[in-house]
């Protein structure tokens, strides 16, 4: 194996992990909320975009990326909770058509609102100096920031897993996903649990929006780009399946990470290739039941 090839592989692997982290953070909330509530939120990635813009605004005013990372996801999750309480709860029993139409409308409003406040142009956000550099591995010089994104995703996933598995609240949440009536009958407020899950999903997507800002910038079309990608992850993974979403996000990461090295001009088609491939093998998605 030549040295140049090895460094290409390393670069591809890092891109894969970065992409995997980001796309899973974005899609996780979408698929979990769908699985639990049967609610498909087409405005999900609009919140992700909103977090990007919020991070941009915070960095511009305070100069601190860390403050943005701490604040923006919380703000976005709170806005999301308000929207969920005011609008979405009315539609939990409605048809998917109504849900999609309402949330698409909301996505329009958020997107145009962002344009009104921040204009049509794209912004770049500088990563904090400590993360701005590069490091060497097997002959490849790689951005430290990618490592940071991967570790943020890992930390968040670990925290959420520990909360889900190790705490009483996590136990109730897991039970509510499968037996909502039973959990309700046991005296827990299922509504509150739903809101909590919804908020955590948005929080994850918002974190992705913030860490994405120094990587790809903040721009008006970022919600749409992420929406198509998230839908692909959710469909190919099987509606509502978190492990499915995790694996498909990984596949997308591999295709994106290594594909971009070799066929960069066709990168736009990669997600469709993954979706087509998965659905050929498993027509109902990786973890999709026949009935779903």
């Amino acid at each position: 194996m030549t040295h140049a090839f090895a460094s290409l592989l390393v670069a591809g692997a890092l891109d894969t992990l970065t992409f995997w982290s980001l796309s899973f953070m974005i899609a996780a909330g979408l698929t979990v909320v769908f699985g639990m509530l049967g609610f498909l939120n087409a405005a999900h990635t609009a919140f992700y975009m909103l977090a990007g813009y919020a991070a941009y605004a915070i960095v511009r005013h305070t100069g601190s990326f860390w403050l943005a990372l701490a604040l923006a996801p919380v703000i976005v999750a709170l806005i999301g909770v308000a929207v969920e309480r005011l609008l979405f709860t009315r539609l939990y029993r409605a048809s998917h058509a109504s849900q999609l139409l309402l949330t698409i409308g909301l996505a329009y409003i958020i997107a145009e609102g962002a344009k009104i406040i921040w204009g049509d142009s794209a912004f770049t956000v500088a990563p904090p100096p400590i993360l701005a550099g590069r490091f060497s591995l097997l002959g490849a010089t790689l951005p430290i920031y990618h490592l940071f994104i991967i570790s943020v995703a890992l930390v968040l996933l670990c925290v959420i897993s520990v909360l889900l598995v190790g705490t009483r609240l996590g136990m109730v949440v897991r039970a509510a996903a499968v037996y909502p009536e039973m959990v309700g009958a046991l005296g827990f407020k299922v509504r509150t649990i739903y809101t909590l899950v919804f908020a955590v999903g948005l929080f994850l997507a918002a974190c992705a929006g913030v860490v994405m800002a120094p990587l790809a910038g903040v721009y008006p079309g970022m919600a749409d780009d992420a929406l198509v990608q998230s839908f692909i992850i959710v469909v190919a993974g099987g509606l509502g399946s978190l492990p499915g979403a995790f694996i498909v996000a990984g596949l997308l990461g591999v295709v994106q990470g290594f594909g971009s090295v070799f066929f960069s001009s066709y990168a736009i088609f990669f997600p469709f290739i993954v979706l087509g491939g998965v659905l050929l093998v498993r027509p109902h998605g990786l973890f999709g039941g026949r009935a779903a």
């Binding site: 769908f34 498909l40 609008l87 009315r90 539609l91 029993r93 409605a94 048809s95 998917h96 058509a97 109504s98 849900q99 999609l100 139409l101 309402l102 698409i104 409308g105 909301l106 996505a107 329009y108 409003i109 958020i110 997107a111 145009e112 609102g113 344009k115 009104i116 749409d224 929406l227 198509v228 839908f231 692909i232 959710v234 469909v235 509606l239 001009s265 066709y266 736009i268 088609f269 469709f272 979706l275 659905l279 027509p283 109902h284 779903a292």
Partner: protein, 345 residues
């Protein structure tokens, strides 16, 4: 909510005699089409141009609503068919500039229908959210193709300077001046028969019954002997073909094709157009298109951020007027009727 949004598509009970609702619907249809036909004689030329856009958008919205109203399927990627037809027509004309107009339209629509048959096999297998997400993904894929395959589609620049020259029966007519009443009427001459055929098929024939039965209760329909997959697929193909007619006519009317016609936001625009007019009436989307073009023209002159009103319209319609304008008119009309009935008593 699902019941009201999908409206009551089983137009009142069709007994041996026509119900009054059915008669009112037919009268409204005739009135709407007549208005569309005579409109150019008393509006300005720029309005005629807008009207040409509106009827093509209207037919596109009708094709979307064919799936939504009659099969309960919400497509989020319908622009794939519209855009495919527009590009296909442009490419056909570039290869054979002398192709007669009827042949051109038939060729375009046929190829779009075949595309619909291929994609429908995949899409129609699942309903609900899955259908919407699959169609959205297909829409995104077609946009990516139009955007990337520059050698054929011209990328973001699109394709222009194609115009059917051979109008066969109308040797002295010309399509070279978009926005004229001539162009508009020529478009209507193809558009209205196509739409009327679809209307008649779904509202007046047993086939329409079958489509609605499958939507109403797919399980029972299957156990009564309906090939539910086949019925939905056939309706999907018809919808794609009608979107193809709309795309083909739109390309003729505009004289150029760009990625705008396969854009994802175009797929959502057509949804709002259909819902605005009212998805419960076959022709509602056509009314919605005329209103949409008129209002968006004025709004976009007012503010560059007029699309925020689109979002508000989505939210407002879902929450407050799930049956659109046609639904509002219908309920007001019914209120008037009952009041008059009470006075007569």
């Amino acid at each position: 909510m699902s019941q009201t949004l999908l409206a009551r598509t089983t137009a009142a009970d069709r007994g041996p005699r026509l119900s009054s609702a059915k008669r009112a619907e037919t009268a409204a249809t005739v009135l709407l089409l007549a208005l569309l036909i005579v409109a150019p004689t008393f509006v300005s030329r720029s309005t005629v141009n807008d009207l040409g856009q509106a009827v093509c958008l209207g037919l596109f919205a009708i094709s979307f609503n064919l799936l939504f109203k009659y099969s309960g399927l919400l497509s989020f990627g319908h622009a794939a068919f519209f855009g495919f037809a527009a590009y296909a027509e442009a490419l056909l004309l570039q290869s054979w500039p002398g192709l007669p107009l009827p042949l051109l339209v038939v060729g375009t629509v046929l190829s779009t229908a075949i595309l619909g048959l291929l994609l429908g096999q995949v899409c129609v297998r699942r309903s609900g959210a899955y259908f919407s997400m699959t169609t959205l993904t297909i829409g995104a894929f077609f946009y990516a193709v139009a955007f990337k395959w520059q050698g054929v589609t011209g990328g973001t620049d699109g394709l222009d300077s194609f115009m059917p020259q051979n109008l066969l029966l109308l040797p002295r007519w010309s399509l070279d001046n978009p926005g004229t009443a001539q162009t508009y009427w020529l478009i209507l001459a193809i558009l209205i028969p196509a739409a009327l055929a679809a209307w008649a098929l779904l509202e007046w024939t047993p086939w329409g019954n079958a489509v609605v039965a499958v939507r109403s209760n797919e399980k029972r329909a299957a156990f009564l002997g309906y090939d539910t997959h086949g019925v939905k697929l056939a309706n999907f193909v018809l919808s794609a073909a009608l979107a193809g007619v709309a795309g083909a006519l739109w390309a003729i009317d505009n004289g150029f094709v760009s990625t705008d016609s396969v854009d994802l936001s175009f797929s959502t625009t057509v949804i709002i157009v259909a819902l605005l007019g009212g998805s419960g009436w076959f022709w509602g989307p056509m009314v919605g298109a005329v209103i949409y073009i008129a209002v968006s023209d004025r709004l976009s002159a007012l503010t560059p951020h007029w699309q925020i009103f689109l979002g508000l319209a989505f939210v407002g319609i879902v929450l407050f007027a799930p049956r659109g304008l046609a639904g509002l008119v219908q309920s007001i009309w019914q209120r008037v009727l009952t009041r008059r009935g009470r006075q007569n008593v």
